[in-house]
Subunit: 555 residues, 2 copies
């Protein structure tokens, strides 16, 4: 373990930000332009699954042919030449692109709606220019130009948003610029005494873990998008990892942020905790690019775990499983991962995306319980939790835990295969206090069934508890049905019904996907008009021309 | 244990706020008007201590006679009669007071400067009127009137601020109203499944614990001001309790807040965690009355602990003690209370406020390590922590833990006795990342010694670590020296020097006392101009006439 950290703190407590310790050596694979991740990873569906799609969902024929990259309809770039030159001047010619492929690859994110539109050949929301700044100072300069020239600008990390978080509105602006942060991927500082690191926002999950892991540390943040999403995106969207029961949500790892805005910079967060006024970190966490661009993150580190164990357990029912998870969260609090599938999801067994339906059988509800840490602690924690689960009527399911861990990032690839096969598949999620969870669960499933059945495509709805807290839990739903010709309208109707049901039943419109453009109307209803006015006042202060991510979050 | 909670959630997740479960039956003792708490509790100083004050600090003679209540200089009330009538009309004649005693009792807080001014007969900052609303709706109505009439209004909970948090500026306004929240002291809702309660802001610490304790729960929040401070004040100032290592800071217990502002109300917080935009709870936590009045708090509950054990340990030195606490916080995380006095504080032994100096002897540094929880957990945690401490060279100090627990809220009474005796005594605190702690400690002690020695009154400076986190710790300083005739100017000079040193060394200007009026200039330097502009924009939205606590926090 290197003891490099303190030399970078010439004034204790003050982040010098600029010098850097290390950069990633790993390649940065491009994401598929019209699907998830690496196209080679998309599974081919077993015949048995195709039969299930036909029998259970009435999927009759494969979806139409996807548009090729050459067929995509792209609007002409409309950024004035003088503005384009100014922006290129900041980053250097080689770090600005306006070619067809770059523009398409920075169009929207990876929701099912995004994929359906791209498959249909529609890249009408494409940015006019992609710029790749290399430093905080370059970001500041770019934002100042965009503000002066009234050019909309949307930060781009991994491009994995599933809520329209990249689909900025460009009407009323002189153009749209995608600010791709991939070059800002340095480890700026390591303070081993304080167990913190200062990292740049463009680092993808595995890159950050590699930089920290070789020094013995981990962030412990593993959302499903981990392989492609970036640190800046994790912070801007309040991401939550699969091991959040052990490591906390990403926002809880953030000790400080450096933020570039059109009017200058802010550093928010100075010490572990402070009573010096409102916690302004919490304004920028979850701001989704609408209030500034995060250019450096000071993050809490943990020792890289020596041991990782994931167990599968079968609970007799979802209700009994919920009670067991609630007890584990409120009174035991020793697991790093705590998940629980309902009966339907357990039967389909989404933990095997290459072979859905090949589940462990036997009914009930599958729980995944994981432990990460020092070997002797993992053993002790596992014993205590296991005996608690056994007392709650749970039985071990051999290999289910390891299988979940092996395939934990592969779920989104299955969606690509199912879309090809003519199914409509999407996920949505919410969070509520424990006492609201059973009615919320019923309400969302009911709304999805009713809205899609009314269109003639009764769905399969699966659910799992993905994160637990002492006061409540999140519910993560997967919906599958036959694709209609107007698949986009079909999903919009179902999503609106589910979102209405979530608010009516006391849930939040999102636990970890974010607001983006898709949830904006429900977000407004959730937080109320005065809260939106408050955020708008903040935005007017840091972004007086309103160029930051128009149409995202509040505007 | 009653299972009353859910019946109050007609719509799950939605707080009905108004119906209530229970009200406190305990009396609400008045705080001394010119000192801390119950005047009968002020200890008389043993002759040995008077000798120490003379020998060590050069205290030559007792302070001058304190002004009596009748001698206090009070400005004439200047609120226009029509405004006063409007405000009285909202709360009812019996819940508004403008008599001399009520006005004096709502003047400023309980910092040493506040006490010195009151002892000198100065109540020139007194409010013109004290109103005691009984409900959220009444608070809304009062704020609307104050805004329309341009009357400054300052919320008043326990009156325990030590940073000028009650000393609102009334120049430029039609008057100053103190909004005393003591009548808002109901338990509104209890949700045992979600382990949460909705409580009103005027509940003092012991009242809240009594309401919850009889149902088997605790908040676990025990700051030194616990006996007099209120829930609303804990939230508005980001209070931190002595057992924060186990239960978390008060802001971490807050699941939702209802806030009344001059333009209407907000409810912030809807679920345990959410990715729906910025976390707006964090704007009102720490807002110190400048952004609204907290009228209800949804708080996380814990089971009332069956066992409480507090141990004393002697560490060989402060440096070794810091290393041991850092290790306990980063790698063990099992104690509820973790505190460490430096060599000077250990020698004086402030854990016995009735007999300071009667310490355990033997040198080194005294640590207090406490455990609260289920009996078997307390035993197991204590064994693990104790063996860790023993390996770090610590030795048990019999009875020191129990003594600390017995006297934990008595420290402020000693100050009253020392002020009478002619000493100047005050505390201040900060927080920083671990790597900054040693230079911060040296810098603050150096600044206090230098500034007070330059005035001819070399001080005794004591310090303890009061709260620890994986990334850092707080430092709490106690300063004592001989009182000069201009004791207020004497302390202002020392405090300014210490505050400058804190910022220069990377600390935050406050870990748990808050900003108030006293820290405002340093707060501005700490967070930067753009952060202040951002908060000012929020304030202009919710308080367009700027009537909420002028002069506190940002204005």
């Amino acid at each position: 373990m290197q003891a490099a950290g303190d030399s970078f703190r010439s004034v204790p407590g003050h982040q010098p930000w600029e010098p850097y310790l290390d950069v990633p050596t790993e390649a940065y694979p491009e994401m598929s332009w019209c699907g998830w991740g690496d196209p080679a990873q998309v599974p081919s569906l077993p015949e048995r699954v195709r039969g299930l799609l036909a029998d259970a969902l009435g999927v009759r024929e494969p979806a139409g042919r996807r548009a090729s990259l050459e067929e995509i309809e792209l609007p002409p770039a409309r950024l004035p030449g003088v503005v384009s030159s100014e922006l290129r001047g900041v980053v250097g010619q080689e770090h600005a692109r306006e070619d067809r492929e770059a523009r398409i690859r920075h169009t929207r994110g990876r929701s099912t709606l995004d994929l359906l539109r791209m498959r249909a050949g529609d890249a009408l929301d494409a940015p006019d220019l992609v710029v790749m700044p290399g430093s905080h100072q370059e970001v500041l300069a770019l934002l100042a130009i965009c503000s002066r020239r009234r050019v909309a600008v949307v930060p781009f990390g991994g491009g994995t948003s599933v809520v329209g978080g990249l689909q900025a509105r460009s009407q009323g602006y002189a153009g749209l610029v995608s600010l791709d942060l991939r070059r800002m991927s340095k480890l700026l500082e390591l303070d081993e005494q304080s167990r913190l690191a200062v990292l740049e926002p463009g680092l993808r999950g595995p890159q950050a873990e590699a930089l920290l892991g070789r020094r013995g540390y981990t962030l412990g943040h593993f959302p499903q998008s981990y392989e492609f999403a970036t640190l800046g995106g994790f912070a801007a969207t309040r991401s939550s990892g699969q091991a959040s029961a052990g490591y906390g949500r990403f926002d809880e790892l953030v000790l400080a942020l450096r933020v570039a805005t059109p009017v200058g910079e802010l550093t928010v967060g100075r010490a572990p905790k402070s009573a010096a006024g409102p916690d302004l970190r919490q304004l920028f966490l979850g701001s989704e690019g609408a209030l500034g661009v995060i250019t450096a993150l000071t993050l809490q580190l943990r020792p890289a775990p020596a041991a990782r164990v994931y167990d599968g357990w079968r609970l007799p029912s979802f209700a009994e499983g919920l009670a067991a998870l609630r007890h584990l969260s409120q009174d035991v609090a020793l697991a790093s991962v705590l998940r629980l599938s309902d009966e339907a999801e357990t039967a389909v067994n989404l933990s095997r995306p290459d072979d859905p339906g090949a589940g462990p059988g036997g009914g009930g509800c599958l729980a995944i319980v994981g432990y990460e840490g020092a070997a002797e602690h993992v053993t002790a924690r596992r014993e205590l939790v296991s005996s608690t689960l056994a007392r709650a009527g749970a039985e071990p399911v051999p290999e289910a835990g390891e299988q979940w861990a092996r395939d934990r990032f592969r779920g989104p690839y299955l969606r690509d295969a199912l879309l090809d096969a003519g199914a409509l598949v999407e996920t949505l999620e919410t969070v509520a206090f424990w006492s609201s969870i059973p009615p919320l669960y019923d309400a969302v499933i009911g709304a999805l069934r009713e809205s899609l059945s009314a269109l003639g495509t009764p769905p399969l709805v699966l659910c799992h508890v993905s994160h637990v807290y002492p006061s409540g839990a999140s519910l993560y739903f997967t919906v599958a049905c036959a694709q209609l010709d107007d698949a986009q309208g079909q999903w919009r109707a179902a999503k609106a019904a589910a979102s209405d049901a979530i608010l009516a039943a006391g849930g939040s419109i999102t636990h970890h996907h974010g607001v983006g453009g898709d949830h904006r109307a429900w977000y407004r209803r959730e937080v109320g008009e005065l809260s939106v006015q408050t955020l708008s006042a903040v935005k007017a202060t840091v972004d007086p021309e309103g160029v930051l991510s128009p149409g995202i979050l509040i505007t």
